[in-house]
């Protein structure tokens, strides 16, 4: 529904972003947004359909791009030989994590909107998209590496889901706590290490 006005920055979107960031989705007022943007509430409806549409116009593009990028990365990773996959995962190669953090800071407002200011359903939907991909490729990884964690009970789908969720939730703490980029890099390196070791242990140990 959103009609991107290509080059010029759209005042209405700008003001909506500000209002949503300041007030959160529910408390944000379309009247205030329209007034700030020197336009009418009606214009919001012509351009974005409704309040939800306006919010998504601020957020969807970046999220879709992120999802695509993640899927592409996972896709490529999953085509490597199993041994190489293992090595990559457990050697703490920081590239992917760091690129993700970079992406977040390049789209800071978008992530602030999603993490702190979105309708709860909207946030959870986006989180679930990420988690689903993560879970899907976790399974592919297990298969590629002949890991039987799913069969010996070390890993259940629920735990798999929960750990992926915890991973992204942990990552988004960066946004929730408004860390500086420097803080974020330190924090995420630690977070990664914690998770990698947790996973390593989970996948390599005998069942309890």
């Amino acid at each position: 529904m959103a009609k991107r006005v290509e080059g010029r920055s759209d005042k209405l979107l700008e003001c909506a972003r500000e209002e949503f960031l300041e007030m959160g989705f529910q408390e944000a007022s379309l009247r205030v947004i329209a007034a700030k943007a020197d336009t009418s509430t009606g214009a919001i409806y012509t351009r974005f359909g409704d309040k939800d549409g306006l919010f998504h116009a601020l957020v969807d593009e970046s999220m879709d791009e992120l999802i695509l990028w993640i899927e592409k990365g996972q896709q490529e990773f999953s085509l490597k030989p199993g041994e190489e996959q293992k090595e990559d995962v457990f050697s703490y190669k920081p590239e992917v994590w760091e690129q993700l953090v970079e992406y977040i800071y390049e789209h800071w407002d978008v992530f602030r909107l999603l993490v702190r200011c979105a309708d709860i359903n909207c946030y959870e939907m986006m989180l679930n998209r990420l988690v689903d991909i993560e879970v899907e490729y976790t399974y592919k990884f297990l298969k590629s590496t002949d890991n039987d964690a799913l069969y010996n009970g070390n890993l259940t789908p629920m735990l798999s889901h929960m750990l992926s969720n915890a991973y992204y939730s942990g990552l988004f703490e960066v946004v929730r706590h408004e860390m500086t980029k420097e803080e974020a890099f330190v924090y995420v390196r630690q977070l990664r290490r914690f998770f990698v070791r947790g996973w390593a242990d989970l996948l390599e140990s005998r069942p309890e």
Copy 2:
């Protein structure tokens, strides 16, 4: 652990609980609550101050009790000799975790309110109380066991905070996903194992 469920005797609180559970904090209507309880909106204000006060009346007692119980446990734990502490932590003794899960299911409505139906600030406040205690006693544990993770950079306050947060967030998935108690026990055992190993690795390894 006492099992007194606060407000059980009070129709107004009962109806408020129902409405908050069904509608969430923001969408819940004081008029509807008062009507359901055969009383007036004014009564809510004389007795609970405002909407927030009403919500807290449903939730605070159980949370305070939980906090107290957790603090007492941590207190007692911290008085043990360092060696014993280490052993307890890393031997996966399930008692505390399981008692926590029991507590959640005994106060199911309270946790549903907090995790799914609260104003976001209220949830985060409660989470922070738990996290702060966890962090505080983590530091005491490090001291008791002469661990230098804080000084060698393996653990930063931020990571410490984040991991405690992830622990409780992970725990509350049980509520968020409305698991059965049986599902919860399986899930939490896996979660515990993941975290314990993560911590062990973090605290015992050399810095990266």
Copy 3:
């Protein structure tokens, strides 16, 4: 839902009446009504539930009274011997018609509201209440007087309904055209005569 404030005239109802009379139900604005009455739109909802409730508060009491009066009259009439009924009907006794007209002029605003300013469903509902009674007692009259019009096909339920409808519609022309009371009396006498003769012919003739 309407809470009659017994003795004193209610400013809100007064202003609502004015607005509905001037603008009609659909075009009337609750905001304007509240403003005229020096009160808030919310007050309308506390007292009358919604726009419909406000309208009905202006109209229902008088209509219920009228319905009761009509039913009582029909009831009494139906208990007379058949011969007497026939004579009454066909002798043009004007009392009932005239009392009805008097009633309309005593509740002029109510009828103006219903006939000219009501939501169409509301008007039709009221009309149907009147028509249903009329039809019901028409059938009783036929039975009392051993008239077989319903069986010989001179009168169908549809025609019966339509004629009763036409009768009341004709009567309400008095309101629609804002006749003076004097005009109304002349007009209604003629109308009555037309209908009485039509009915007489219908009921007494052979089927076509």
Copy 4:
């Protein structure tokens, strides 16, 4: 009678008809109409002026044609000798009534629009056009037949107007109740008989 149904060739009119029929005049939305017709709201304004204009475009042609047909019939009738007029009227010749009903069913949508979906003023305007003709030719009929009902008080202009109104209102019950054509013929025959006898009595009797 020509059977051209105006606007049939035009998608915009087609969609407008649908929307007006479904929603009624007031509730119909020009935006919806334009969207359904794959055109713009602006197009409605360039072609039909405004919402009213659009409605009239659906309705006027058929109504004008009907009016013309009625006037022509009345005109021809009024040129007959008085005696013949009398005979025609009171012998229940069904031709005219039946042709009218046929016309209604040939232009069903137009009449549904006017009777059930029009702005009230629009319906009344159309009704008044019919009534005025009827009244005008009633007077001519009285003159042609040397009837003194207007002078002896049996018939006033108001009653004349009202009876014509009741006639058409009664006729349009056919549309209001969405009768089948078969039902309509039965009903209208009865209606006609009722009115003819009423008129006969009115015009031939002594004043009361």
